[in-house]
Amino acid sequence: MRFTVNGSPRDVDPARSPTLLAALRDQLGITGPKLSCDHGECGACTVRLDGELVYACLSLTAACEGTQVQTVEGLANGNALHPLQESFITHDAAQCGFCTPGQLLAAATLLEQKPHPTDDEIRAAMSGNLCRCGTYPKIIAAIRAVADGAGGAP
């Protein structure tokens, strides 16, 4: 079965990995999306499927044929980091970093759909991505800075 991952065509065997998360991690070695709850409860596995946010642990590999999948590894443009990645760095928006790949994809999707969200809109849109380290205030600040055109500046 073929689909596109971060711009490159890739082949996986859906029988070996029923979920998209397992296919990415185990067959393609793409480990940015993390396995944490495996039940769509935490957002650590968040990826984009044809531009839409999905929990990869709940997405069936077989249903992804022909789709475009984006993971955190595909967020940067070559060596140039995405503005949100820059902003997460400058705002210290990752402590342990385990939730960070999912947070970044959720944030990128939010800003594409709503370039100037209010803080409450950020909170609502990001509430499907848990962070046990409690980086939320800094994630909000990092998203705010990009939305306000301040780029990565703290």
Partner: protein, 766 residues
């Protein structure tokens, strides 16, 4: 006592002395090596240019690009996958299990059941004493195959069920089933100072309350896990852990292999919060299968296992009596606490903060630990103090209301000016300033003098609570600083970064001491084979324990570098100094580190550092938090609107990272106050909410405006970098501050957390 050889080229080793070390609130006496020299302390007046600033987290780019490798991301050639089969009920005996059926499943390579693991691992026993206990394990070519076989094994399991006790009331009932052979309770641990009876008699006001706190689950997003690989007799363990050396000694002991043949590696980890302090069932399972099969094996907890059997903060029932004169002066504090630990655990009880936070001549605490048929506790951020603070600070706020005294004024009146528990002075304690600065930032107006709230549906309230926590750290901790032939610097210390920022702050300390540019310094951590020993990253200890060792190693490396420079420049070493990776001669740049080191070629400049003993002082981090909430009396829903936190932790190495730690503690405290509670079904003995949907941790939408800060300054009496720990303190006062704000809002105290809508409505109905 051991005298080291003193030759011409002294190895600069010290003698051995006894010192007192505090770990997670417990005190231990240890014999430690006294460093041959300790640099003069960095005081508040010492001009520092790298320490005290906020350079970006050195590994942030790895984390935002997905390059950071966590234990579950480790893939080894030919790696197999192990899954543990766990007990479906709380007490009983395994009578049958069809291991052969599992062995016959596709892809399965090995199965272990009752009696197949060395006794020291405590794995796969016939007797079940809690639901979730490991009973067997399967190893297969893929995780899916292992999970399928594990289900077959679980289905074949036959168990004779026995009566259990999973809540404290059942375990202490007269006809309670025996949870452990030696009984269901520990002997009461009574600690008393002064004369409580006289203190109670002298009181003009006495308040008695019963507080209850829940079992809280660490819920790190990265579950416990290990990858194990044998190469002949050598075992390599990749483990998500707060203590690589502890994992090494655990594994070496359980599998009877010498520590020299076990290497533990930890690069990135997805949080620990106290639950990842040693080897666990997953580690032993992976190591045993890997040895048996001659292939690498990965074993990672799934979320259910993680929420069931990887540790927890135990519940408490705390009866508190607080007695005072009418002017607010405390005359007695009494605590009677029951702590259901689970099937095992150590004394991390709520009592200690009762002896430490306030000046009070008469204090008595009694703690009884209760064993129940549930997974054992593990340290969880501020163990004991979090639970104790909820009761102590709740009672203080109740006293303030009863006396019509402002709760901050009441606290200032009873401020501890020395450590009355251990009868010693503080190295530094500016809790009074934390209150005043917090009041200023919060705009605190006394709750008691406010006009009665107008009749709106949603009610607002404000509250305050304080914290203390022992954060001195201590020996043993070692570090090496190595200057490479291009002038770049490696800091070598066998510590771990849980997401705290240890990698960054150790590099800052070394760069500061060495006079090197921060971007030339790299901290290498997380490898027992190649790095000097440091202790676990627990008890807020890493900065005050490893930090001084790193500074000392850097100072020694700098001394050697300058000796070499003195030769090269033909100048007295006293006239040389360093700054910005350059050697200065009489304050003028003479030579860069890189030129100097290039000329030295492969002459190795290495400094060795160790953490010296602690002074005879109480070393604590203190702080005050203020919360504002909104309560809807019709739905019982509590929303936290803002939290202001001010803490005194001595010198802050990196304010931005320290602020992140405060946020994390406060947000976990909000979860503890409002949502987090493990539910065990009393009849069946199994956890009902062993997932992240029904066990609720705060989401971004639950998080209020947080203003978290530290007092400026340094604590040179604590250690020579002047820093104390900060990881645990911020979670301690959050829940009692929120509970006080809720009481202020609705006029009724709710003495049990979490403050769920149901509990709030029940309180309002009374």
């Amino acid at each position: 006592m051991s005298e080291k050889r003193k030759g011409k080229h002294t190895t600069k080793r010290g003698r051995f002395v006894q010192t007192v070390v505090e770990v997670e609130g417990r005190t231990e006496t240890r014999v430690v090596e006294l460093p041959a020299f300790e640099p003069p302390p960095w005081t508040a007046a010492t001009p520092l240019t790298i320490v005290g600033t906020s350079p970006l987290r050195v590994d942030a780019a790895e984390k935002v690009t997905g390059r950071a490798r966590y234990t579950a991301d480790i893939v080894r050639p030919g790696m197999l996958h192990a899954v543990i089969v766990r007990a479906p009920l709380a007490k009983g005996t395994v009578t049958a299990m069809d291991l052969d059926a599992a062995r016959a499943m596709p892809g399965v390579r090995a199965v272990m059941g009752t009696g197949d693991a060395p006794a020291a691992t405590r794995l796969f026993r016939r007797d079940i004493s809690y639901a979730g206990q490991p009973l067997a394990a399967v190893c297969a070519e893929s995780l899916d195959a292992a999970e399928c076989a594990a289900r077959v094994l679980a289905t074949s399991l036959r168990v004779d069920a026995a009566p259990h006790a999973v809540i404290v009331d059942d375990a202490i009932a007269p006809d309670a089933p025996l949870v452990r052979k030696d009984g269901n309770t520990t002997a009461p641990d009574v600690v008393e100072r002064g004369d409580v009876a006289r203190g109670l008699a002298a009181a003009e006001v006495t308040i008695t309350r019963e507080y209850r706190t829940p079992v809280a689950l660490h819920s790190a997003l990265e579950p416990h896990g290990a990858v194990c690989e044998w190469n002949g007799e050598h075992l390599t363990v990749w483990e998500s852990t707060q203590g690589i050396f502890r994992v090494r000694s655990d594994v070496a002991k359980a599998l009877t292999v010498p520590q020299a043949k076990v290497r533990v590696l930890k690069d990135y980890m997805g949080g620990g919060f106290g639950a990842k302090n040693g080897a666990g069932a997953h580690t032993y399972t992976a190591a045993l299968f890997a040895r048996q099969l001659g292939a690498p094996v990965r074993c990672i907890n799934d979320r259910r296992a993680e929420q069931t059997d990887s540790g927890n903060r135990p519940a408490t029932v705390q009866k508190v009596t607080i007695a005072a004169r009418r002017d607010g002066t405390l005359t007695a504090l009494v605590l009677d606490a029951l702590i259901p630990l689970g099937i095992s655990g150590w004394e991390g009880g709520p009592a200690q903060i009762f002896h430490e936070l306030y000046a009070c001549p008469n204090v008595r605490t009694t703690e009884i630990c209760v064993y129940i048929n549930a997974s054992g506790m593990q340290a969880f951020r501020g163990p004991g103090y979090v639970e104790g603070a909820f009761a102590l600070e709740g009672a203080m706020n109740a006293l303030a209301r009863a006396l019509q005294i402002d709760p901050v004024a009441l606290r200032l009146k009873n401020l501890a000016t020395r450590d009355e528990r251990a009868n010693r002075e503080f190295s530094g304690n500016r809790l009074d300033e934390c209150y005043t600065e917090g009041m200023r930032r919060f705009g605190w107006t006394s709750t008691v003098h406010r006009p009665p709230p107008t009749v709106t549906r949603v009610k607002h309230g404000i509250g305050v609570a304080a914290q203390t926590w022992p954060t001195g750290g201590g020996p043993p901790s070692y570090a090496d600083v190595r200057i490479n032939s291009d002038g770049s610097v490696d800091v070598l210390a066998g510590t771990q970064d849980l997401g705290t920022g240890a990698r960054t702050i150790l590099a800052q300390i070394a760069a500061e001491a060495l006079g090197a540019r921060l971007d030339t310094v790299r901290a290498v951590i997380g490898d027992t084979e190649r790095l000097p020993y440091t202790g676990n990253s627990w008890g807020s200890m890493t900065t005050p324990s490893v930090g001084p060792a790193v500074r000392m190693a850097a100072e020694e490396a700098k001394a050697r570098l300058l000796e070499a420079a003195a030769q090269m420049l033909d100048a007295p070493v006293e006239s040389l100094s360093t700054n910005d990776s350059q050697v200065l001669l009489d304050s003028v740049v003479a030579l860069s580190f890189s030129d100097l080191c290039r000329k030295l070629g492969n002459v190795h400049i290495v400094g060795h550092g160790s953490r010296g003993p602690n002074p005879e002082l109480a070393i604590v981090t203190v702080g005050a938090q203020f919360a504002e909430v909104e309560v809807d009396p019709e739905t019982g829903v509590v929303r936290v609107l803002r939290v202001v936190a001010v803490h005194d932790a001595g010198r802050i190495i990196n304010p931005a990272l320290a602020e992140s730690q405060l946020h994390g503690g406060i947000i976990q405290g909000i979860g503890y106050a409002l949502f987090e509670e493990r539910h065990i079904d009393r009849a069946r003995g199994v956890t009902l909410n062993a997932n992240l949907h029904d066990y609720k941790i705060p989401t971004m939408a639950d998080v209020p405006a947080i203003d978290a800060s530290f007092l400026d300054g340094a604590d040179p009496a604590a250690n020579h970098i002047g820093a104390r720990g900060i990881a645990e303190p911020p979670i301690i006062p959050t829940a009692p501050a929120i509970a006080a704000a809720v009481a202020d809002a609705i006029g009724v105290e709710v003495c049990e957390i979490p403050l769920t809508p149901w509990r709030v409505l029940t309180a309002l109905a009374q």
